[in-house]
């Protein structure tokens, strides 16, 4: 059950949008397709909806092979980045569209539409036209329209991409709650890792038409399969061939055999979090994330020499095919050697 895509390939001319993509989306889950633009995430979503034909591969929706089915017969609800509101119809007629196509009777249609408008908190705006709504309202209307026909799966293509930051955050929370109520299998596409981690239970990270890794937010953050995933799901510093998250960088004033010398270039206070940017002796620029208290204790000043001690670093090359999750090295518990940061970075 749920959605599965196997061996999907799709190219547009010379551009390979999907190459041998396979994903499994469990029934009733909320899954995010996460990746930079051009990574193929939208193409994959559109292929699931039937809006894009695959060159090869198979799409299965709730156990049925949907590969050759037109979008009308796939039982999907689709929400577009730019709302795709029917501009010449009122909010009511937008939401009722799918029901009218299915020849629902008037009273039933009216009940269903008002029920949905209540759900998306647009009751009372039924007579408005899309041009009279804000972006957030339009997107909620589009969601109600998609949900009206009781789709088996709900697909959202960068649904909050065109909205401003505040509205995005509100809708994010709201979407998560909605999913908890409705339990319809949902896939949503985003390039924003914070959004993906906030909303989705499961993430699929894509890059250049391939799936890099899938798993829960914790999985991806703690055990990234490669450099791309590690840097895409969070901030990262590169030290030689090791990668360290800024919050895994300890700043101390006294050197020892596991520290590296650096000069404090800039200190940026972002509320509780403080960003300390340093430049190492070889010119590498890194930054450490400290708390306000730590900064005050260290009494750091710009231009000062300080010492960095990575608490945990990862290295993806050195080719350990037996461990595709990446070599996780808790540096603090090991004594120097190859696990420590290369002395001559």
């Amino acid at each position: 059950m749920g959605i599965s895509v196997e061996g999907a390939n799709k190219s547009f001319g010379d551009f390979q949008a999907l190459s041998d993509v396979s994903i499994e989306v469990p029934d009733g889950s909320l899954t995010a397709l996460l990746g930079p633009s051009g990574s193929g995430k939208s193409t994959l979503l559109r292929a699931i909806a039937g809006l894009e034909d695959l060159d090869s591969g198979q799409v299965t929706i709730n156990g049925d092979d949907a590969t050759r089915k037109p979008p009308q017969q796939r039982g999907v609800g689709f929400v577009f980045q730019h709302y795709a509101a029917f501009k010449h119809m009122t909010v009511y007629d937008n939401v009722a569209f799918g029901l009218k196509i299915r020849k629902w009777k008037k009273p039933e249609t009216s009940n269903r539409v008002h029920e949905l408008l209540q759900l998306v908190q647009l009751d009372g705006l039924a007579g408005r036209f899309p041009s009279q709504l804000s972006g957030g309202q339009r997107q909620r209307m589009a969601l109600a329209r998609a949900l009206a026909v009781e789709p088996q799966v709900l697909l959202l293509d960068e649904p909050f991409g065109a909205l401003d930051a505040k509205v995005r955050k509100d809708l994010r929370t709201w979407l998560r709650r909605l999913h908890e109520e409705m339990h319809v299998t949902t896939i949503f596409v985003t390039h924003d890792q914070e959004e993906a981690m906030d909303v989705a239970g499961q993430l699929v990270v894509m890059n250049e038409g391939r799936v890099e890794q899938s798993g829960t937010a914790d999985d991806l953050y703690e055990h990234p399969a490669n450099e791309f995933v590690m840097s895409f799901v969070g901030e990262v510093n590169q030290l030689g061939d090791h990668f360290v998250r800024p919050h895994d960088m300890e700043v101390v004033l006294d050197p020892d055999d596991r520290t590296q010398e650096g000069m404090v270039q800039r200190i940026v206070t972002l509320g509780f979090e403080v960003r300390v940017e340093l430049v190492l002796s070889d010119g590498t620029e890194v930054w450490a994330q400290l708390t306000r208290n730590e900064l005050q204790r260290l009494e750091l000043r710009e231009g000062q020499i300080a010492y960095l001690r990575p608490i945990q670093a990862k290295s993806f090359n050195g080719g350990s095919p037996s461990n595709p999750q990446g070599a996780s090295t808790p540096l603090g518990t090991q004594d120097g050697g190859d696990a420590g940061l290369p002395a001559a970075v």
Binding site: A49, G50, L51, Q72, A84, H88, G98, A142
Partner: protein
């Protein structure tokens, strides 16, 4: 735009002056000349049997050519915008032909095709008269007014994009329902504008229709041909009167579209 009021007024004056000289004054002159000797003479000319027949024939051209070109135009625009193919540039260029080619040439080409030695001369032998009769005039009218609906619809189709149509599909609408309930309402003002231009062109067409019709009084004369005949026969009042009727018909078309639009916006 410049914020300087002097230059703003200067530009307005220039624009309005230009339009007045080129468009307004000649039209007002016709109006004035028509009624110079009272309402009687022009009314007599327009309501003469030949005049009325010309009016009827002009309207017939509109009634046949406009719907045909509208249906063809929408279909063609959909083909050009929604179905990418290597043939599209060719189709696009061919559609523009009536704009590029002089109407007289169009008339001549029809004459050659359906005339005594033309490829379709056999139609005449079968008793189907094309030249010097209504069918030929309809063909000429369709030919000259063909591009308008396509040209006005293509940019609107491009602008609305495919999102709404695809949303309709995912909601279960088939191709016809998608077109009828989503595409057509979205492009209707582009189409309407194309229809107005087509109507104006068909009403005013002279060159192509002259050649294929033979301009026979009371038989194959549309209003513009009637105007020309009257003028050539030194009945300038009649010519002005008929011209005024033509201008009024065009104004009515524009007005009808504005009325529809206002009703829609209300």
């Amino acid at each position: 735009m410049s914020a300087n009021p002097a230059s703003r007024w200067g530009l307005r004056f220039l624009g309005l002056g230009y339009l007045t000289m080129l468009l307004l004054i000649p039209l007002v002159m016709i109006f004035y000349k028509t009624f110079e000797e009272g309402i009687g003479p022009p009314l007599d000319a327009v309501t003469s049997p030949d005049g009325l027949h010309a009016l009827k024939l002009s309207l017939l051209m509109v009634v046949i050519a406009v719907p045909l070109n509208t249906v063809f135009g929408i279909g063609c625009a959909l083909l050009l915008v929604r179905h990418k193919s290597k043939l599209n540039p060719v189709i696009d260029a061919v559609i523009n032909l009536p704009f590029a080619v002089s109407p007289v040439v169009i008339g001549l080409s029809l004459y050659l095709l359906y005339g005594t030695n033309g490829w379709f001369a056999f139609l005449g032998e079968e008793g189907i008269k094309i030249l010097f009769s209504v069918p030929g005039m309809v063909l000429a009218s369709i030919f000259v007014s063909l591009p308008f609906v396509v040209r006005e619809t293509v940019p609107v189709l491009q602008e609305i994009g495919t999102d709404q149509e695809q949303a309709g599909q995912t909601l279960g609408a088939n191709a016809w329902q998608t077109f009828r309930k989503i595409t057509l309402p979205s492009i209707r003002w582009g189409v309407a504008y194309g229809v107005v231009l087509t109507t104006a062109r068909v009403l005013g067409e002279f060159g192509a229709v002259t050649i294929v019709s033979g301009s026979i009084n009371g038989q194959t004369q549309t209003l513009p041909l009637f105007v020309e005949k009257q003028y050539a026969n030194f009945n300038s009042t009649g010519a002005y009167g008929a011209s005024l009727v033509l201008a009024l018909l065009a104004l009515i078309t524009l007005f009808a579209m504005n009325l529809l639009k206002r009703k829609e916006d209300a």
